[in-house]
Symmetry: C2
Subunit: 256 residues, 2 copies
């Protein structure tokens, strides 16, 4: 991490450990008091107190095998994404787009410098990957993310690109200059490709969602394996469909 700015440093330690426990349960599944205590580096009684409190509040549930995250987070998460106008505007149109293309589709918004998937439509033959609802991704490694970076305003872009660019595959654009050129291209033609830049074997076509005053709300994409995403289909037809859907969603998001 970077140097802690004392001015913006959070004060409440108890909250930090409580959420630390929550995140640990998220990453490792059901576990008991002792395991939590040693994992978090706190005493057993502390872990017990926190888990007890979280259970009373209804955020963890106590089963025979230990403690686990409750579904209250599902409700909170649903509320969080419903706050985005893009979510309501996108869902039905995305369903149609995915049916037309036959590949998986997703809706992304930016939060804290990362891309977050707020909606995803699977297909019969869809490839199982690591991306779910709520998954966060590096913006420069996805079609949705590059669409976003291309069409956000300059200040935002600078903020989003201030940290170094990770390299996830051999195709990832991890050089800043190259990326900026790529973004220029995307801006000109209106849509973005992803050619195995995040996951080898997967391609995608993305486009930004703009409201009528040209502020960016997020981005959408469809993605599939290189075996199916190729040729004119991938280069011409899919982009056309994605762009069309993006326009409709943008209009719908504006008037709602």
């Amino acid at each position: 991490m970077t140097t802690n700015d004392p001015a913006t440093e959070g004060q409440i330690g108890a909250t930090k450990t409580s959420f630390g426990i929550v995140e640990h349960l998220r990453n490792h599944g059901t576990m008991g008091v002792s395991e939590v205590a040693s994992a978090l580096g706190v005493s057993k009684s502390t872990a017990h107190n926190h888990l007890q409190t979280l259970a009373e509040l209804g955020y963890v549930i106590q089963t025979d095998e230990g403690y686990d995250l409750s579904l209250k987070f599902l409700d909170l998460g649903d509320h969080a994404r419903r706050r985005h106008a893009l979510y309501h505007a996108a869902i039905s149109e995305m369903d149609d787009l995915v049916e037309a293309v036959g590949e998986r589709g997703q809706v992304m918004v930016e939060e804290n410098g990362r891309g977050v998937y707020i909606y995803q439509v699977k297909t019969e033959q869809g490839v199982q990957t690591d991306s779910h609802i709520g998954t966060t991704v590096d913006l420069h490694t996805t079609a949705v993310g590059k669409s976003y970076l291309a069409f956000c305003d300059d200040d935002t872009r600078e903020r989003l690109l201030e940290n170094s660019l990770s390299e996830l595959t051999s195709n990832t654009i991890s050089d800043r200059e190259t990326l900026l050129e790529e973004l220029e291209t995307i801006r000109e033609r209106g849509y973005a490709f992803n050619d195995e830049e995040r996951i080898t074997g997967m391609r995608a076509v993305g486009a930004p969602i703009l409201s009528d005053d040209d502020t960016i709300l997020g981005a959408i994409s469809v993605s599939g394996p290189t075996t199916r995403m190729k040729g004119e289909w991938y280069r011409r037809e899919v982009p056309e469909m994605v762009m069309q859907a993006a326009r409709i969603i943008g209009i719908r998001a504006t008037y709602s």
Copy 2:
């Protein structure tokens, strides 16, 4: 509330206020420090500290208009529901069921004495109601809930019915004896109806999901307006389809 049992009372006050803030943001949307402070009955500096900490952890985001829930909860919620075997087993089958019936479908599990929807499939003509993913409902007022109550073991049923039965519409079964008889009927025929017992104008057909050792995992249902859910279709054909789907999901949940 009932009398606080001191033995199971949560200790960590800071965690309680932090989650109190989270819930308040969930219910009332974006707001600032002062508004949070007065709503929660704490000092401005306290509210500020908590919000600052939550923001640093990434659970609230700070915009121009104030603080709001972040999409990190979406990720936590998704993980929470993925832990249920029923979720993975149900999704594709539910999609098919909903397409066949043409009405909205949902998957429910029980948590803390209430029913929680972990999956929902909408339809073109589907009615918008108050139920989303993560929504909790009184078990005795829904087809899914009654299916669950009918097929869970006796100890569980007793625990789930220990508090009084709310009355949401004139059709709600709020009398314990009547409910137990209804559950007996459901147990015999294998599926449950909901005839405007939660929302006037809405009917539903539900069935339990049982793993092969007859332990109950949850329940599914399809629901629609009384104008379409009627006659033989509602009484015979839809139950047949729901039961069939429930059987398949049960088998799939067992071997996974």
